[in-house]
Every structure is written in structure tokens, then in C-alpha cells.
Symmetry: C2
Subunit: 387 residues, 2 copies
């Protein structure tokens, strides 16, 4: 069997998923014993149709652009696979003489990765399978954080700082900024770092880890508007009430994901209707995971490193593991990569721990900020206000 | 009467309104004959309450931060003034011994500026009044473009390029990006530059200069989805039907402005309902006018220059004029400042000319791109795709 390597993307892209791809390819190119460096076109769906992209002869200047390209440059998918499909994939791997598989994705993809690892073992084929973590939502278990989150956090913190400056200069009473992360509040929480350079931070932060109480929200807003002309609220797209019911209606479903109405606009409507104040909701949505200007350098470097390590390890014979990061210190920032058994991260959703959420459930703690700050890769831009 | 200068902000802020403020203050500091350099706190409302900020002794390192601070660092307002209020302002100017007034804003503020100029003339006081143009929407008359637009255009073009890369890597059928500019399509149109570096641009662009026909939109989308898995639509927040009725409902009114529901989400809903395709709407909203990472350097330099010129001219005795820009050439980019009578720009809304809009009404022409491109200040980032 020839020594071919395959890289597969799964789930939503981030600002640095291509940096992991770059790291894996650059590491693979150091190994002359390897045959083809394949990528699956559009994730597992393309893989099953044997749609492979040969990367070993791509010019270096094209590869270098991966570091500043958001989205997935090889295509990704959200397919949840059936058991028969894993067997089908093993057949394709054998046919294409693929000895090493790197799967880059979030906890859904790590589930696929773990099941593929098991399918390979069950089929008695010698195929190494390694996971590369990736999620803007930061909800993969065990790892301190996942590549993709730092950039999403920088986007959210910087955007919130700018929005706060805007609202301070021309009050519109209430602006609700909707943040990505339906079940885990990591991105929503990172907006708190907007205040880092002495500027205003968001006034209220509502995380999906706490049940959302509309009456309490209205009371929170009303109280703040007695002191300030304009306030900024950051709210998770996944807010739900105490019974677990989303505060907005579902719009459509695709694969594992259900799409809902906009929380920001909904909450702005609540303010207008119940308090009579001017309000508007903003939803950058997908823009928050594909901004290259706000790509975190720390995040990009770690994404690249995760790709390199996964590739190096699988070539050494390691299999059934995911690359993870362990926090050594916040200041100076130090995180060390290590390997975790893939079974430990399959489909588990890691949420914000209690010590990162304030007692009122409408903000974060200093401990969260200290944890999150270094992942931004650079400080929020300093601003000035004479008003 | 002492020689005091006053700077007033009006209307919504931009990414470079503080750069004009910086230019005006730096120019003013060169003139020892000047007394105080005042700023009105929160626009004309603060001015009438005699809320003035003294800027002449602000440390230089604080002033320098104005160049990277979005929003209005002195506060702005949306007040539409009554005649009696202009007389009140003239009284305040006399009392505070203000000899020179610079008003920075869009066509609403230029209306205020012109009326203040007339009120000063009518009162027989020797007060010079000059306008500094500012609008993300680019809808001020006579001037080729206004400070604030270039940055909004860079934000829209780069964000669209990133969104297109994201959607190409993981198709979600239809993503509708809502763009600012209710009556004029300049910002919406600038999304077309997303394709500049060989990447995908938006597939459809709907401008408020053309009546929106929902059936035609559905047909446009359906046709494209036969060829592509995921498409990106950019739509103005102010789309209206052939009878001039906005395609979304009004939510609330403030001053001259009415706020409406989200066009992006609305159109995504149309796609879901009428075609059964997955769709979502994104609305960066205010983020599009306050991004410092996507502040255009050309825009910032021109904003600073407009502030400097207005200040220099008013000190020379010029009054009742606005600083404007005349395009000399696109490549290399050259624009020259000149002065225009304030009467010519009062409340006029400049829309996209026909030669910038394609025949189908769902895109822009090459002529528009050539005109818009240099205002971004830098090219869209190059990306790569292997899919």
C-alpha cells in the first residue's frame, strides 16, 4: 500500500482552518516517504465520491495564501454519517492507498473522526487517523481552547469596542450585538475584553449557559438607561428561557443544526415594545468567523502548529488521538500541545464554567478575561474620548 | 470679540470623523491668534446648552488617538433645529466669543450649517461658518465622494470577499448581507470589489436606486442555484418596491430617521418560504461604520485634509462653504479639494447614477468599480481556493 496522506475538513470554517491545513501540508512535504498529499473536496461527502485534490505540487506562493484565506479552501461539510458510510469511506481509503487521515473540525467532526478510527480498526486496515481541533465556538472538550476561537474572540472584542465608541458618540439607547455560539457562550463572553484599553465595554452580556429571563433583561436595561444615554448589550444567538426553549423561533434545519430567528433584533424589539426606547440589533453572523483583518496571530500560529503536530504524529504511527492545548500560564501566555484520546472529545459540548460567569448572569468574571485575553493575539486598539 | 474656534459634529459617525477633527485641531494649533479651540459636546444640542470642550491643551498623544478612534470622540447628534434654535446658537456663539465655526456632517448637517451661516448673516455678526463633509453613505451632492465612505466601502468589499470564501467552502445556499445606505446604494455597490483579487464576488447586488421586485429576486436566485451550491446576495437596507414602499416594516422613528426591520433576514425568509432553500441574513449594521481595522488610509487622509482645509479657510475669512473633492484620475488615484457654496449641498441626497448600475438592476458596472476602487485605500486581501 502506497503512503498517501489525506486531509478532511468538517463543520463550519473559521479564520484559521486553512492555517491548520497549511501546517499539515508543510509538515507532510518534509517526508519524502509520503506519496500523494490529498485533500477531500467538500469534506466527507466529496471523499465518498472519491473527489480528492492533489496538493503536493501546488506552488509554495499559493500555499502561503492559506494563512490569510478564511473559509475552507478545500471545502467542508456538515454531513452526519451512517455506519455504512464509514465502511464506504474505509473502502475509498484502501482504493486510494491512503495510509494517513487527518480530520480537522469541531466536536461533530471529532465524532466522525473517532468513528472512522474505529471503522479502520474493525476492518483491520492499517490506517492512522488523527484529529485537528477547530471551532470558533470553543466547545471542544479537554483542550484549553481550540484553533478558530481566538480569532472569533478578537473579532467580537474589537467589534464591541468599536460599537461602544460609536454608541457613546451618538446614543441610540440600546444596541444589541448578537454573538455566535448557540450552546456555549465563549464568543459572547469575549466581548467583555472591549473595555481593555480604558474604553467602554458592553453594558450587559447574556450567555446561553444561563436561562434568559425577559423581565430581568428589561429591568437590567431600564436601570442602566437611568445612568447612561446609550447602552450596548451582547447576546448569544442561542439564548433560551428557563424551560430550555429558544427565545426566538426556529426557521429551518440542516443536518445537526437548526437555524433560528435573530436574537439581537428580537431583543431590540423587546426594548422598543416594553420600554419605548430606541433600539436596534446587529448580527455580523458569519462575518465573525471569516475576518482576516481580525485574525488572531496567536490563533493562527496554534492552528498551524496543530496541523503540523497531527501530521507528524500520524506519520510516526500515532492514531485515534486529537491534538489539544494545555494552558501553562496566562501572563506571559504559554500553552503546550498534547494528545488526547479521540473518544474523549466525540460530540461533547464544552460550556463556560461557572467561575467565568458573574453572579447576576449578565456578565463575566475577571478570571474569564485573564483566560481569554492572550488568545486575542494583540490588544484591543486604544481609543480616545473627550465627551 | 476674542478669536475662538468651534467644531461641531452632526449625524451618524464614521470611521474617520475623528480624523477630520484631528485635522481641524492640528491646523488650528498653528494659529497663535486663536483663543480657545472648542468642541461642542454632543452636537448642536450640547452647543445650545453651552457645553463646550476645550481642546487647545489636550496632550498630543491623546489627539493622535483620534486617527484610530471610531465614533465621535466629542459626541454628535441628529437634532433637526427650528429657526428659533439657530438664533439661540448665534447668541451662544456671541457669548462664548466664537468667531469661527466648523460643522462636520452629512447633508442634514450641511443643511444646519447653511442655516447657521444665514442666521449669522441675518444677525449681522462676523462669524465664519464652514462645512466639513462626512457620511458613510456618500450621498452628499457636488463632491465626488465624502470622507467616511471609503472606509465603509473597504469594510463592505473585504467583508463580502470573506463571506464569499466562507460560503464557497461550506455552502448554505443563500446568504444575504445587508448593507447600510437607505436611499443611496454606494455602500451596497462597493461589495462588488470583493472579486478584485480573483476571488468570488457577490452573486447579486440590489440597490435602493432600483425598485425591488420580489418575483425577479426569486427568479435570479433560483437561476444561480442551478449553477452554484452557495450564493451571496448583497442588499441595501432601504430596498423598496415599485410604489416606493419599503420591503420591510418600520419599527420606530427618531428625528429625520425611520428604523425598519432587517432586509437581509427578510430576504432570507423569502428564499426559505418560496424556494425551500437554506438561507440566512447577516447585518453588520453599525459595525460597518466603525471598523478601525478596515479604515481606509485614503479615506482617513482625506478626512484629515478636509478638516485642515476647512479650518485654514475659515481663519482666512471664507464662510458659507463646504470642502469638497473633485476626481482628477482613477489610476493613479488623484482627487483635489475645492470649496462649494453650502446652499448647493443642503439636504440634497446624491444617489448612484445610472451608468454605475447594470441593465438588470442586480449589479454594478465596471465604471463604478473603477471609480470606487481607489477609495478603499488598499486592495482586497488575496485568497486562495483549491476546491
Amino acid at each position: 500500500m502506497a503512503n498517501n496522506l489525506l486531509i478532511v475538513h468538517g463543520g463550519g470554517p473559521t479564520a484559521v482552518i486553512n492555517a491548520s491545513l497549511y501546517g499539515a501540508i508543510m509538515e507532510a512535504k518534509k517526508h519524502p516517504e509520503l506519496g500523494h498529499i490529498y485533500c477531500a473536496r467538500n469534506g466527507t461527502g466529496g471523499l465518498m465520491k472519491e473527489e480528492l485534490i492533489e496538493m503536493e505540487n501546488v506552488p509554495q506562493d499559493q500555499l502561503d495564501l492559506l494563512l490569510q484565506t478564511p473559509g475552507s479552501a478545500i471545502g467542508t461539510s456538515r454531513d452526519a454519517l451512517e455506519q455504512a458510510e464509514y465502511e464506504k469511506i474505509v473502502e475509498v481509503l484502501k482504493k486510494k492507498e491512503i495510509r494517513y487521515v487527518l480530520m480537522n473540525g469541531g466536536n461533530g467532526t471529532m465524532d466522525t473522526c473517532g468513528k472512522l478510527y474505529k471503522a479502520c480498526t474493525a476492518a483491520g486496515v492499517e490506517i492512522g487517523v488523527m484529529g485537528i481541533p477547530k471551532t470558533m465556538d470553543n466547545d471542544i472538550a479537554i483542550t484549553d481552547h481550540a484553533p478558530g476561537f481566538g480569532s472569533a474572540a478578537l473579532y467580537m472584542a474589537q467589534s464591541t469596542a468599536e460599537l461602544c465608541a460609536d454608541v457613546k458618540g451618538l446614543a441610540i439607547h440600546v444596541v444589541v450585538l448578537e454573538a455566535s455560539g448557540r450552546n456555549a457562550g465563549w464568543i459572547t463572553a469575549s466581548s467583555a475584553l472591549a473595555a481593555d484599553q480604558g474604553g467602554d465595554g458592553p453594558d450587559l452580556i447574556y450567555l446561553p449557559e444561563r436561562p434568559f429571563d425577559e423581565d430581568q433583561f428589561v429591568a437590567d436595561v431600564e436601570k442602566l438607561l437611568q445612568k447612561k444615554k446609550g447602552i450596548v448589550v451582547v447576546a448569544s444567538e442561542g439564548l433560551h428561557d428557563k424551560d430550555g426553549k429558544p427565545i426566538v423561533e426556529p426557521i429551518f434545519k440542516v443536518g445537526r443544526a437548526t437555524y433560528y430567528g435573530d436574537v439581537g433584533t428580537h431583543l431590540a424589539g423587546v426594548v422598543i415594545r416594553r420600554l419605548g426606547y430606541k433600539a436596534r440589533g446587529e448580527k455580523p453572523g458569519l462575518l465573525g468567523r471569516c475576518s482576516i483583518y481580525l485574525q488572531s496571530k496567536v490563533d493562527r500560529d496554534e492552528a498551524q502548529m496543530a496541523g503540523e503536530i497531527a501530521c507528524r504524529e500520524v506519520l510516526k504511527g500515532t492514531t485515534g488521538k486529537m491534538v489539544a492545548f494545555k494552558r501553562i500560564s496566562n501572563e506571559p501566555y504559554k500553552a503546550e500541545p498534547f494528545l488526547v484520546d479521540i473518544e474523549e472529545v466525540m460530540l461533547f459540548e464544552r460550556k463556560m464554567p461557572d467561575e467565568f460567569i458573574n453572579a447576576e448572569g449578565n456578565g463575566v468574571t475577571e478570571a474569564f478575561k485573564e483566560w481569554c485575553r492572550p488568545l486575542l493575539g494583540e490588544p484591543i486598539r486604544k481609543m480616545v474620548n473627550f465627551n
